[in-house]
Structures are given as C-alpha cells and as structure tokens.
C-alpha cells in the first residue's frame, strides 16, 4: 500500500504549473471570456507542446499514451489556473473514448490530429444537453440511442447557450446520425461511453480541486493584506474559520479524487463508485470554498474587475456538470442500498 504519486508524475505537475503561471495568468482567462470563440489558439498550442493535450491519446497514433493517474494532477493544475480550454473534453474524455470505441482507421485519422493540436475533438454524451467548445471543434463525439457517432463540425447545427462562465462556450447541436458517422454500438459503445462519462466526472472533480485550492489561496492573499478595525481581517476568527472549513473540505476530497484516478487507470471493479465519491466530494468542496472566498473578500470579490469570479463561476459550472454532487451520491446510494 502506497498512496503517493511518482516523482515523474509530480515533476510533470510542477512543470505544468510553471507553464500555466507564464502562459495562463488571470488576464488570459479574462480575455477568453470576451473573445469571439472563448478559445486561445496560442494557449492550446502551449498545452499541446507541453504534451498535455495528447497525453491520453494512443501512443500508436502519435499520443503519449498515459492514463488517468498520470493526468489527474495536471487537470488539477488546469483547475488552479482556470484554464480556458477544452482539456477535459479533448484529453480526458475524447481521446480515450476514440481509443475504446473506434476502429483503427478512425483512430489513425483523429488521434494524431488531436495529439498534435491540429484538431479539437469534443463530446456530447447523453445525460447532458450541451456540447462544450463545439464552436472550435473539428469533430464531436456524440451519443444517441446507445450508439456513438463521430460528427465533423461542418455537419452540426449549433445553437449557442450562454454560460455564467464566459469561457465555457456551450452549444446545443442538431445532427443526423448516419452509417458514416457511426463509431460503435451495442456492448462496445455502452462500455466505452460509460467509461467516458466516468472520465468526464473524474476530470471535473480534479479541476474542482484546483479551482477550490486557488480560491482559498486568493482569499488568503486578500485577508492578509486587507485591514479593517485596525487589523488584517485574516486575524479575525470568523475569517479563519471560514477558510479552515473550506480547506478541510478540499483536503478530504483530494484523496478520493486521486483514488478514483488510480481505480480508473487500473480498471478496478469499483471504479465508477470511486469516481462518484470523488465528484460528489469535489463539487461540494468547491462550492464551500467559493462561498468562503466570496464572503471573506467582501464587496471587492463581488466586483467584476476582481478575478475571483472567474474561478467561482467555473466552479459552479463544473460542480453541476458531469453529474452534481447529489446525483453522484445517488449512484453511490444505489450501490449501497440497491436500486
């Protein structure tokens, strides 16, 4: 029994954090909110060159071929930096989904493009009405009636659905399934899609950890400097306890997220259950952290000019996406209590 990441995994995390501090400071996040696409090709290029975008893509097809456990800390960093890019969709979900469900030809066509940053691939699975980043995608993997389809962007009719998080570009899409778009059906499709849904929830959970931790860090910075009644407000017990409560929530969500990544990577029989525990706890932790952060910032954090809301709104969105805390607890409840 050994619950720790490898030196390589930790080194990758450190490297990505350094990259994001440079390439994705808050102004870059903010710019994505008001840009036409919400997408920054330059940032996407950096993430691709780093190896993040293709991390899970098939090694036989130009990817790095790593697994959920290698990815989880990197997704946490994406959360910490509130990265405005579809890493969750492309890297955490789409690449493994293609690998699991598509034939060699399709993989040979798309995995290299995905890994090299040439093509953005995103997903729309049953259970959600929305496709993230459909506006910049080249290919969208879509579920209908238990079948998985791969639909080129040109064949989609997109309707923009504005999110509270300005860098999350959501769309409802209309499309026609056909023999040409069909990737898989039957058992293969349902197994691959179930795994994809778990990967989406796990990736969201990992990002929520990073978002929450960063909101706490921003707040620590603020309350250490901000003075009222002749003292830094961080010296008041109420402020201390808000932040301590938030930290407890985050730090006890963390090992559930890491364990879920481990179980997914190993194909553990309980992996879906582990993912649900992780997502439930991470969604709740981020919610508590957001509340504490805003309250401790006071009016300053309530202004649009301050960066806090960029993180907070992402946390709200990801908290509900890929299954809310309550929905994931319900799944755990089914396992514990039956049906």
């Amino acid at each position: 029994m050994r619950f720790a990441f490898s030196p390589d995994q930790l080194a990758m995390q450190t490297a990505l954090r350094a990259l994001l501090e440079k390439e994705c400071p808050a102004p870059v996040v903010r710019a994505a909110w008001t840009s036409d696409t919400g997408h920054s090709p330059a940032l996407w290029r950096s993430l691709t060159d780093f190896g993040l975008v293709g991390l899970t893509a098939d090694a036989a097809h130009g990817g790095v071929g790593l697994d959920e456990l290698d990815l989880v800390l990197l997704l946490e960093e994406c959360g910490r930096a509130a990265v405005p890019a579809p890493v969750l969709e492309a890297t955490a979900v789409a690449a493994p989904l293609l690998r699991d469900a598509a034939n060699d030809a399709l993989n040979a066509r798309w995995q290299p493009a995905l890994a090299s940053g040439e093509a953005v691939v995103t997903v729309g699975l049953a259970g959600s009405d929305f496709v993230v980043a459909a506006n910049v995608a080249d290919l969208v993997l879509l579920e209908r009636s238990g079948e998985l389809h791969a639909v080129p962007a040109g064949a989609l009719t997109r309707t923009a659905q504005r999110s509270v998080d300005g860098s999350r570009r959501l769309f409802t899409v209309q499309w026609e399934p056909s023999a040409e778009t069909l990737v898989a059906d039957g058992e293969v499709a349902s197994r691959a899609i179930a795994a994809a849904r778990d990967r989406g929830a796990l990736a969201a959970a990992a990002q929520l950890l990073g978002l929450a931790r960063q909101m706490i860090a921003m707040t620590v910075g603020h309350v250490t400097v901000r003075k009222q009644f002749g003292a830094a407000i961080g010296s008041f017990q109420a402020v201390k306890h808000h932040l301590a409560n938030a930290l407890v929530k985050v730090e006890f969500a963390r090992p559930l997220v890491y364990r879920a990544a481990y179980s997914m990577a190993r194909g553990d029989a309980d992996r879906s259950l582990h993912v649900s525990m992780a997502k439930a706890q991470a969604s709740d932790a981020a919610e508590v952290a957001a509340r504490a952060a805003l309250q401790c910032h006071g009016a300053i954090g309530y202004s649009y000019e301050h960066d806090l809301h960029l993180w907070m709104k992402r946390a709200w969105a990801l908290g509900a996406a890929w299954g809310s805390a309550a929905q994931h607890r319900a799944r755990v409840g089914e396992a514990l209590f039956g049906g």
């Binding site: 009405d129 999110s163 509270v164 009016a299 202004s303």
Partner: protein, 386 residues
Amino acid sequence: MDLSLTPAEEAFRLEARRWLEANVPSTPLPSGDDAEGFALHRVWEKKLFDARWAVVSWPEAYGGRGASLVEWLLFEEEYYRAGAPQRIAQNGIFLLAPTLFEFGTQAQRDRILPRMAAALDVWAQGWSEPGAGSDLAGLTSRAVRDDARGGWRLSGQKTWCTRGAHCDWMFGLFRTDPAADRHRGMTYFLVPLRAPGVTVRAVGRLDGDDGFADVFLDDVFVPDDDVLGGVHKGWEVAMATTSSERGLTLRSPGRFLATAARLVDLGKRFGVDERLRDDVVRAHIDAEAYRLYTQQTVTRVMDGGSIGAESSLNKVFWSELDVRMHATALEILGERAELVDDAPAAVDLGAWMKGHQFALAGPIYAGTNEIQKNVIAERVLGLPRR
C-alpha cells in the same frame, strides 16, 4: 393577537393587487443596472408615483398614502407576488427618507421627498470607501469648511455605490473634524452627483452588470442646506436609522415569500426528490417565519416600541435564507443552472443564476453577517467585547 386583516387593510391589499395586475409589464424590464434599463425603470417609478404606489407609507403631501406599517407589508407582498420590477429608487426611499423624516428640516423634506418619490432624483448611498467597508468608522473622505460660500468642500472616494453611475444624488458621511476620534467629527451630507468636481466611474458587479460605482470627489461644494442633522453629528444620524432599516424596511418579507413561491413552482415543474423537496419546504417555512417575525416587529413599532440590535437577527436570517433558496433552485435546475441571459435553453431567462449572484451579496452588504453576529452576541446576548 389578531392575525386577520381589517376590512380597510383587505381593501388596501385588493386595490394594490388590482393596480399591479393591470400595470406590471408583462415582460420583465431589462436590468436597471445599466443606463438604458435605468431609464426604463425611472419611467416605471414615475408610473408608481402617479398612482400613489411609490411610497405608500409616506404622508399624502409627499406622494404617499399615509399607509400603516401593516399596509406597507401588504403592498410589498403584492408587489413582489406580481413580479413587479426592481425598485431603483429604493436606497433613497428606504435609507435616506427615514433619516430625513427624523433629522431633516422641513425645507429639506419639502425640497427632496417629492422629487425622490417621483424618481426625478434617484439617490445613491455613499457609505463605503476603499479603506472603510465593515469598519465604516474608518472612513477618510473629508469636508472642509467654506465660510465664504456658506458650505463645505468635499473630497475623497466613495465605493460600491449601488447604481451610482446612473443616480442624481448621493447621501453619505464625510469627516468634518479630522482631530476627533473614529466615531466622531463626521457629518451627513447630501451630494449632487452632477456637481463640478464629482467623477463617477461605473464598476461591474459579479453578474457583469454595472451595478456599482466609484464616486470620486475633488473639492465638491455642498451648501449648508445639504447638511443633514447637524455638523459633526453624522455618525449618530446615520446609526439612529440603521437599526430600523436593517430590521424592517431594507428587505420586506414580500420579496422572500415571492421567491419561495417561485421555488415551489420550480420544484413542481422540474420534479424534486424527497431531499430537494425538503429543501424547498424549508425555504417555504423560513419565508413564512420571516413574514411572521416582521409582523411581530411591526406590532411592536406600532405600539411605540423601537428596533434595536435585534435588527441584526433579521439581516442574518433573510440574507442566509436568500442564499439557501437560490442554491436549492440551482440544484433543481441541474446543468441548466449555469445558463444565463439570452441562452435559449435557459430556464426563466436565467433568473435563478442572476438571483443567486445577487443573493450572495446579502451576507456582505449592509454590514457583513460576521459583524451582525458580533452585534447579536454582544448587544442582544450581552457577551463581552474583546
């Protein structure tokens, strides 16, 4: 105890309901927090005023109906039940006007109140400063005597002035005796925002609307007529009305009753399991509790009693309730909760996410809940200060 309404009260309620049914816009006005929406809301306020619904509890001479507090509560219930527009004039009507009634001169009242009621002048509050939020007594904006012109010259910066970018006037505290200690030597001024030396900068709110403003004052002249309640008496004047505002008029129960009713409706439309249903029921009960609590307070005030530090209980309760109600709504909406503005798939035009963001301000403004809980502990329960 008699919780029924008198025939006169019933008649008042019905008259309000009928007028609102006939006059509330069928599609919601755009947010009153940007210039265009603000102008439309000014029209609405004028319409309310013309029908004498703008300030029901004021004397008729100023455009009111001399309504009792009970009637005021009824009007508020009807107003929010009808889904009527936000009140852009509220900071004047609910925060400044009570102070004018208590401390203003007759001339001030006659000059200011009718124009306030008709929204010819819309007022912003100017309490907070960059260095003085929860700690209001730490404010540093100052007023220097100008004997020659018979008034004062104001300088400094006020911040978080709600809708300040669109308002006509601002009320606020300024330091007139820099040598006095923190809570003294302040004066309550009425400041024309179009005066020379005033610069107003819109500040975006959490939801993206320009709901705030920074107001910069550089040697702005204010005549003696616009001092409210006496020179160096600003703190006492401001505090004397804070409790009753926080305890009664700042947030009437009607608002939360309407939100709770909409939440029940949302639960029915989207379906709720026993867990979420329990949360909806809590909201309904809490809103009822707040209504009844307010009825207790109104009875006490009508009996000649006053509202003291208990007002802090009030503020903590409704602000936390508002956050819980909106959080429950977002849970009911699931992934659609994040849709806002013009998103075609948004439920109720994204009103719940918008309301959620507004609700999150509740525990912060009008004195953070952390400060209110200190007040409850120290001044209601009698615990020692540090």
